[in-house]
Symmetry: C2
Subunit: 250 residues, 2 copies
């Protein structure tokens, strides 16, 4: 079971544990999406019968449904279609408030959406059309939600780093110096380790497991997962961290 950092005191260890566990989730969902070919009608800007694309329709309506019953009450969850989300119909759950309130509104899902559909998706799905449009869009939603949660988790990372060394971060925050903050947050050797680890996970989780020797064919190319983390997940997480820290003393 994943340790729930929100229910406990936020520590560097609990944050790290959650980040590592979330890698598995991201990779599982990429593998599930790769079961289906690209199924391009899902992304056509006007899918017959719905307004807009099918993936827009599924994401927007699923978010609306989940929002009504409290998904976005959690400080770990951020919607892609923030406008006109329906009102909560259930009682509020009192999540422990560990983040600075000024950071609550940071939401870079627009960037994550563009990255996922325009850059990542073509790298790991095959050509073709098998008619499984709803299943495909649902897999996309799972990937998007997992990536969004992972990247916005940067807020918790930043909070715990700040609490650990306010004297290091304070001056850069007061000077609103993005570059200095980015430098404080960057650890090349850790990033290299993450890249290697997610590549290994993609090999382990994406292999064909048989009772004899497993075959050396992966459901998602492990180097794509490593690239996803290097080019997008880690830089976007740091972007969230910087944005969060910039308003940490508001």
């Amino acid at each position: 079971m994943e340790k729930n950092v929100l229910a406990n005191t936020l520590t560097l260890d609990s944050v790290r544990e959650s980040l590592i566990r979330q890698e598995d989730t991201v990779i599982f969902y990429l593998i599930e999406r790769a079961k289906y070919p690209i199924n391009s009608p899902v992304y056509h800007p006007s899918f017959a019968g719905v307004s807009g694309s099918l993936v827009d329709y599924i994401v927007k309506h699923t978010e609306a449904l989940q929002s009504k019953v409290g998904r976005y009450e959690s400080p770990e969850e951020y919607p892609f279609f923030q406008e006109n989300l329906p009102r909560l119909v259930v009682p509020t759950y009192n999540y422990p408030q560990v983040l600075h309130p000024a950071g609550a509104s940071i939401n870079i899902n627009k960037t994550i959406w563009d990255m996922y559909f325009n850059q990542l998706l073509p790298l790991f799905v095959s050509e073709g059309n098998d008619g499984n449009y709803v299943q495909t869009a649902t897999c996309d939603l799972q990937c998007l939600q997992a990536l969004s949660r992972r990247i916005h988790y940067g807020k918790f990372v930043a909070e715990v780093k700040f609490m650990d060394a306010p004297e290091d971060y304070g001056p850069a925050i007061q000077a609103q110096n993005r570059d200095a903050l980015m430098e404080l947050l960057t650890f090349k050797s850790v990033e290299e380790m993450v890249k290697q680890r997610v590549k290994k996970k993609a090999m382990v989780f994406g292999q064909e497991v048989c009772l004899g020797d497993s075959k050396g064919k992966y459901k998602v190319d492990p180097s794509v997962v490593s690239r996803l983390y290097e080019e997008w997940v880690m830089p976007l997480t740091k972007k969230v961290q910087v944005e969060y820290l910039l308003c940490r003393l508001d």
Copy 2:
């Protein structure tokens, strides 16, 4: 990519390949559900603000949304809340018709639902309550849909077995002899192999992957996955196969 058996001629190989690939899906989703503790308020028969339980609400409304845009047009997909599903708003996709029409209405999701919540779930999630109710119910939905697809895939298994040897199945079908059909469909050595394979998959996919040696702790107990297949998935698949065959000559 999973070979789409519907778009090709149905063969024993393509059916077997799909069954094997679906094992991965089932195990990934069990692992994702195990991230959260039981979160028992999700199952309380009256969750404040919605009618019925929260999991009923999420499954029913997600199915309604997905049904409108065509999920249940696929002969691989079966809803849990079949009554009052909204009408399709998109054009029909012409899935190849490989199943006998009389088998289309077989739906044992009521049994799958009871098995999942009353028997399986308590075996692999921890005690506790972390407030992630919507995420928990969504993970349940993923598990239910994956198990339902896998078990109802018995229709394709039965069809391909029947086409392969109509002379073996014909007399038992004409005699409406369930026991004889069950015997024809049962291969103890194959079932043993499946049990071993899903156990191995649970060990591989559920391990904590590190850059050094992986730790010998699994996110879902591999013997629970093996038991899931032995006690429920394989017997229920055979039940679907028998029901399908009984009407195969209608």
